[in-house]
């Protein structure tokens, strides 16, 4: 590599408008069209009048279903653990000693 300084060419993708006028022009153009579309867009994107009420019902139902399913899963796991306690589950150390056949 030569020690001479190389001329850098700007990458057009990262080029920032050097002219502050351009930024102001953009802001001005946006300000000039700020109120042009809002009302009409709101009209075509209008939500149904009963949306909130229906959503409340649906969300409550979905949350309840999910929490019941989670609780059901927990109860099954509780039942399994209870069975293990009642009917005895060999503790790891006892199991290990029976496997190795240690006489002590």
């Amino acid at each position: 590599m030569s020690d001479e300084p190389q001329e850098l060419t700007p990458d057009p993708q990262f080029e920032v408008p050097a002219d502050r006028g351009t930024i102001h022009e953009l802001d001005d153009a946006l300000t000039a069209t700020d109120d042009l579309w809002g009302d009409r867009l709101a009209l075509i994107l209008e939500a149904p009048v009963d949306l909130a009420e229906r959503t409340k019902e649906d969300v409550r139902e979905a949350l309840l279903t999910r929490s019941v399913m989670a609780a059901g899963g927990d109860l099954l796991s509780l039942g399994w653990n209870t069975m293990r306690v009642i009917f005895g589950d060999p503790a790891p150390d006892r199991r290990d000693s029976s496997r190795t056949g240690d006489p002590s």
């Binding site: 579309w37 867009l41 994107l45 929490s67």
Partner: protein, 186 residues
Amino acid sequence: MAVHLPMLKRLKRSRSTTSDSSDERLRALIDEHAAAVYRVALGIVRDPSLAEDVVQETMIKAWRSIESFRGESSERGWILRIAHNTAVSTLRRIRDEATDPSLIPERMTVDTETRAEQRADLAALRGALDELDELSRSILVLRDVEALPYSAIADTLGVSVPLVKTRLLRARRELQRSVEGVSNER
């Protein structure tokens, strides 16, 4: 009995979803933001029933993570970010699943009893909105309908403020061209 702790936590949580105060909080959240979430969702998915699904999913996600909301941004901005992400992933999932192009939502069907000319204008506007890319549609809805500040839109969509402004201006000009084109044809 460490094994039972998660269950107690979940039961506590499930009880809390049905307690009066949290029920009220959930209702208030939906009352306050459902319509805005719907508009953002419809702007992206372009199908009213899908937009309603997005509203429901957004509210569930927001409700579940409401404790992690630190108030660094506005609650509206926070919920609209969830809505935007949910709508985009819904649309992508449908595009992935749909082999028949007719199953992909392309048109919004909204009943508006307005005069014929207004209807034509709105139809042209709807068509022009359909022609925009997802990002431009989101920016347009978040700014022109929801009136979010540029910085909040940039934050919501994970892009820069200059990009938001440039895309917004371009989108508005596209809408202008489309609507003027329809008017000139008449």
